[in-house]
């Protein structure tokens, strides 16, 4: 470990962050209290799978703990921040830098819940009693978002995202599809960026964004070559998003959470992927930016058994260990305990007094797929069928311009497929989507290019009231030729 240089790095990193208008945390330097700009991370005992992989048990690593390390006081070493807990992980620091939310298990065998630690005083309190809760992050309004088990039309509980108000009362789910949602990050523009993973194929994972009220969920990034998304993504000061991605091919161990260190442009995430660790052997586990030019990563060299913390310069490929690796622990999930610009908050359109939302499509016949990849593209689309998790909600004929407009139950996953005049499926079903109460979502068409803005045309369908679903004589069970393939298992 090159402490002298890292001390300087700590100063530089602190200066960079301070130059962004950030004030450091004025914290005590005694006991287990982190000082300004200290590193906070999760230590996972050897023999316990590090968090981030697809296995559910990896969300709750027994015996893990959250520690701090001050690069300016390397002689002090690491300090345990969660001594009162049997296990703890997934730290997140509030925008003002004064508090840390984390997922903790008070006693062995007890529930994992979201706790909050006052960094200056070292006092902790239970933020939400939800059991199995993990991956907390602070919202713009002072509330939190976290991942916890939920059962929405599925036989097995899955992890959905929840939000809780600043007083932590009454957590409510904000994702409603048959998938595992985890690892939320709150972007500066107020959106949530999270990992969603399909049930059936554990490698099918994507990063999605949505507003903190669960509206406007949409794809942010996916690797169609099979890259599996693990852990939280982070924003850099130069508007990139960095995260770790692995693939089954790369990992002999199917549950290994590590992988490649990836950056995408926040402005064009679907088509700007860069492997920041190209040419570097070993595996990355998690990452947090120190500046535009430097990242703090959890990294395992090929000749090491454990993940350690390293300062990484993507431009030069230089990796410098931050502190001596502890052979008894993997060092994962690093963050910097420092104040930072608060994300923007926004006024939610969700109205919980309503139980429906609306969806309209400008042209269901629109597809960005090349002609040879459009199944049944020669067929004329006459209607669209809306599938719920349990059956068919209804079929809606298209207007002459291909548009349709429906009102459907809120907070329930649906998929869509297009039909020809004979009722045969032309395309679909689509990915699962949902609408929140009072949300009105629009789409350009099926298989729309996610970088395409709509043409300025008034859809005929909205000239009439929406078709309300489920319609009469619907809710028929799926006939097996279509419909959900990941539900009810």
């Amino acid at each position: 470990m090159r402490i002298d240089r890292l001390r300087g790095r700590g100063v530089v990193a602190g200066a960079v962050l301070a130059s962004l208008g950030i004030a450091g945390v004025l914290a005590s330097r005694t006991g287990a209290r982190p000082a300004s700009g200290v590193i906070v991370f999760t230590q996972v005992p050897a023999g316990v799978a590090a968090p981030g992989g697809p296995d559910l048990s990896q969300r709750y690593p027994t015996g893990s703990r959250i520690v701090s390390y001050d690069p300016l006081e390397p002689e002090v070493g690491v300090r345990v921040l969660t001594e009162d807990f049997h296990s703890a992980r997934a730290p997140a620091v509030s925008p003002d830098g004064s508090r840390m939310a984390f997922s903790g298990q008070k006693q062995g065998g007890g529930p994992w819940q979201i706790w909050e630690l006052e960094l200056e005083r070292g006092r902790s309190r239970l933020l939400t009693p939800t059991e199995g809760a993990t991956d907390p992050a602070y919202l713009a309004d002072g509330g939190i978002v976290f991942s916890a088990p939920a059962a929405h039309g599925t036989a097995e509980p899955r992890h959905a995202l929840f939000t809780a108000a600043p007083d932590a009362a009454d957590p409510r789910p904000i994702t409603f599809h048959p998938a595992e949602d985890s690892s939320p990050t709150v972007l500066l523009d107020g959106r949530l960026l999270f990992v969603t993973r399909g049930f059936a194929a554990s490698t099918e994972s994507r990063r999605m964004t949505m507003r903190a009220d669960g509206t406007a969920a949409e794809l942010f990034y996916e690797n169609r070559d099979g890259g599996r998304q693990t852990g939280r993504a982070r924003e850099t000061p130069d508007d990139r998003v960095v995260f770790v991605e692995s693939s089954a091919r790369e990992n002999a161990d199917p549950v290994a959470p590590g992988g490649r260190l990836i950056a995408v442009s926040g402005r064009r995430p679907l088509h700007s992927r860069i492997d920041l660790g190209s040419g570097i052997e070993g595996e990355f586990h998690s990452v947090v930016p120190l500046s535009s030019d430097e990242l703090l990563v959890s990294y395992r060299p090929p000749d090491r058994a454990r993940y350690g913390l390293y300062a990484f310069e993507p431009l030069t490929g230089r990796l410098d260990p931050l502190l001596d690796p502890d052979p008894g622990y993997d060092a994962t999930e690093p963050i910097v305990a420092i104040a930072r610009p608060a994300p923007k908050r926004f006024e939610s359109v969700v109205d919980l007094q309503r139980d429906t939302g609306e969806l309209y499509c400008l042209d269901a016949d629109h597809s960005d797929l090349p002609a040879d990849r459009q199944p049944g593209s020669s067929a004329s689309i006459a209607s669209v069928r809306i599938l719920s998790a349990t059956g068919i909600l209804g079929e809606v004929p298209l207007e002459a311009d291909g548009s349709f407009y429906i009102e459907l139950p809120a907070d329930s996953p649906v998929r869509l497929e297009t039909l020809d005049g004979a009722g045969r499926v032309v395309r679909g079903p689509s990915s699962w989507i949902w609408v929140r109460p009072n949300e009105r979502r629009g789409c350009i068409g099926c298989h729309e290019d996610r970088e395409l803005a709509p043409e300025n045309r008034a859809p005929l369908a909205v000239e009439k009231p929406p078709v309300t679903l489920p319609s009469v004589a619907s809710e028929a069970p799926s006939d097996g030729t279509h419909g959900p393939d990941e539900v009810g298992r």
């Binding site: 406007a216 508007d239 908050r345 926004f346």
Partner: protein, 669 residues
């Protein structure tokens, strides 16, 4: 007990009574004030602060005059041929600034007309020509003497200018009168007046002198709920006639223009509104996108549109564009994003090479494609407007309008290397509001500023389908923000008692889709909007008197009986709902214009001011012209009694209506 004793005893009683009386006044007064603030703001939590509305917003009050100050607001730049000086129009200072580039200071300030807009230099460098938007003239400036030597009258609202290569004639885009003046500079007379599109704005002359290109900001007249289409008017300089009217479909606010050195391309800035789509989301270009337009002269005038936005980042209000002398780069100022985009024109040529027409249509809406040709975003100061390149192409000058500053960009490094302060000084309350008005940073991903739909505080002549009252219904006609101060309530439904409410949290919830303005920001923004005055009335004689036609029209407006002598019920007379001085009774009225998708039947009565410049008309914009209000949309005399009018009488009425409102002292900013 002595009298003195009684007095002593009475004193506390009197004091107590006075205190109680004070409380009786103060408590209701306080409660009234709280209620007033809540009513005006639409917020239960608004703080009780009288100063922003009653002091800071009042420009003409003694304190307002003390607190406010004049700004220059540089708008357009011309560079001397030897590269030693810039000539800058100061829109709010009513001057032409000569800026010494060696000493980096203002060398002289030459008073010109009101609201100077564009400046061009004569080929010999001795004279500058400045268009004065609110003086309806072009100033001739002797640059050696530093004074105006002549003022040439042109059409209404002159904006862009272009000199012929020999310097003998000047083309002037008259934004308000929708035409192009051709000035003979030898005789000092207007030689021709050519019809343009809607709101002609910038002018550029091909370097071979064969053609003149004039951008038009607003869409040509639209059928109801049709996509906008703005015109690029091409004047054949040889015949001095309009040679072509090229159309940018689904685009408007075409403002800046420049030509590539060989003249193959005319490059313009443009906005692609999505006003026909329900405004349920603003991400991914569902509300507006901003881009470039290209007219490829080499390919028969092919019209191309390309976005300048990214998928998750928008660059609002592109204003000016300049092409480097070698034709390799174009720079675009984004006035709402405080950014200059550097565009690789060669990359665009390669992109377009052999591209079929249907791909062009996709590219116009594809936000990923800008990655191929936008090579740098250069941050600037507030509200970058006019751009100019040094003669050698190595420096780019940027008029940072709301910072009163000129920035200097190194074209090779693509970064700002220096700036010249023109006299910025402190930020006043209204200047802060003005900056907020023009700053797209207060929308989710920079999708739009207030200015995007209200250029120069006016309107964009479009109709919108907003979300809160349900989609596909209650389409609303966008209105001008000029002269709103005394016309509350607001919205066509009259639901907003004030602009504080109009621009508050609901605005953030349903339109900008991000954090609302803070209370201080909201006060400043509204103060600025309320300070916007109507433009000078084009249809008013300088004496203020009405013409014969207008006098006849006034008689129709004020009549109480029909042509047949039948009395017109008071509720059906023009003056009942449109009484002077603002020509609105500020009430909601059912004039029979509610359409099948409207959920309301009564609409707020609009004030009548500069109506000639406010089309389309009615709450949903269905009336393209003033005439249509009565000839098409009031068949049963529900919108005033007019069916008995002769064509001549209707013409008179409209001429009178066009004369209403306006101001002699526009403070348009």
């Amino acid at each position: 007990m002595s009298v003195e004793g009684h007095r002593r005893r009475r004193w506390p009683l009197l004091a107590g009574a006075a205190f109680l009386a004070g409380l009786m006044v103060a408590i209701p007064g306080y409660r009234h004030s709280v209620e007033h603030v809540r009513h005006i703001s639409g917020s239960e939590s608004a703080s009780l602060n009288c100063v922003p509305c009653h002091v800071l917003s009042k420009q003409d009050g003694p304190i307002g005059r003390l607190l406010n100050r004049e700004y220059l607001s540089p708008l357009d730049i011309a560079v001397a041929d030897d590269g030693s000086r810039l000539y800058v129009t100061a829109e709010e200072g009513d001057v032409l600034l000569a800026v010494d580039l060696r000493e980096k200071r203002v060398a002289s300030s030459i008073p010109v007309g009101r609201r100077p807009h564009s400046v061009v230099l004569s080929p010999d460098g001795r004279a500058a020509y400045v268009s004065n938007r609110w003086s309806n003239s072009v100033s001739i400036v002797d640059l050696r003497a530093g004074e105006v030597t002549g003022e040439l009258p042109v059409g209404t609202g002159p904006s862009g200018l272009a000199l012929t290569p020999d310097g003998s004639a000047l083309y002037v885009a008259n934004t308000v009168s929708n035409d192009i003046s051709l000035l003979d500079l030898t005789s000092g007379r207007e030689r021709k007046r050519l019809p343009a599109g809607n709101a002609p704005y910038a002018v550029s002359m091909a370097r071979d002198g064969e053609a003149v290109y004039v951008t038009n900001r607003l869409s040509s007249q639209l059928a109801f709920r049709e996509p906008p289409a703005a015109e690029l008017t091409v004047v054949d300089a040889g015949s001095e006639r309009v040679g072509a009217r090229l159309t940018f479909q689904s685009a408007h606010l075409i403002e800046g223009i420049d030509l590539t050195p060989g003249g193959h391309w005319a490059v313009v800035t443009l906005v692609r509104p999505k006003n026909l789509i329900p405004a349920t989301q603003i991400g991914r270009g569902w509300m507006l996108t901003f881009g470039l337009g290209i007219v490829d002269r080499a390919q028969g005038g092919r019209v191309i549109q390309l976005p300048l936005d990214d998928v998750n980042a928008f660059y609002a209000d592109p204003y000016d564009v300049v092409v480097t002398p070698n034709g390799e780069l174009a720079f675009v100022s984004h006035a709402g994003a405080d950014v200059i985009s550097a565009v690789d024109l060669q990359a665009i040529r390669e992109l377009l090479d052999g591209l079929p027409a249907d791909s062009l249509a996709v590219y116009a809406n594809h936000l990923g494609v800008s990655d191929r040709y936008v090579i740098k975003r250069i941050p600037t100061g507030a509200n970058p407007k006019g751009l100019a390149l040094a003669p050698d192409g190595r420096r780019l000058y940027v008029a940072e309008r709301l910072d009163d500053r000129i920035s200097i960009v190194d074209v090779e490094r693509l970064e700002i290397i220096d700036a010249i302060d023109l006299g910025s000084g402190r930020e006043t309350f209204l200047r802060r509001g003005q900056r907020l008005f023009h700053d797209a940073g207060h929308s989710f991903q920079g999708q739009f500023s207030c200015r995007s739909c209200h250029p120069e505080g006016h309107h964009d002549a479009l109709t919108y389908d907003l979300e809160p009252d349900g989609i596909g219904r209650n389409v609303v006609n966008n209105v001008s923000l000029r002269g709103l101060a005394e016309t509350a309530p607001y919205k066509w439904t009259g639901k907003n008692a004030s602009l504080y409410r109009q621009c508050g949290f609901r605005f953030a919830k349903w339109l900008t889709r991000t954090e609302p303005f803070s209370e201080d920001e909201l006060y400043a923004l509204v103060g600025y909007i309320l300070s916007l005055s109507p433009a000078p009335g084009r249809y008013r004689m300088p004496s203020g008197e009405l013409t014969e036609t207008q006098l006849r029209g006034r008689a129709v407006f004020e009549r109480t009986v029909t042509n047949d002598g039948d009395p017109i019920p008071p509720e059906n007379r023009c003056t009942t709902c449109h009484p002077p001085p603002l020509f609105t009774n500020k009430q909601k009225v059912d004039v029979g214009t509610s359409g099948p998708t409207d959920t309301e039947t009564e609409f707020d009565t609009p004030a009548l001011s500069n109506l000639y410049d406010h089309g389309p008309y009615l709450h949903d914009g269905r009336a393209i012209t003033l005439e249509e209000i009565w000839t098409k949309y009031s068949p049963d005399d529900t919108h005033g009694v007019a069916n008995d009018l002769t064509k001549a009488q209707l013409n008179d009425l409209i001429e009178y209506l066009k004369s209403l409102g306006g101001t002699d002292d526009s403070s348009e900013r």
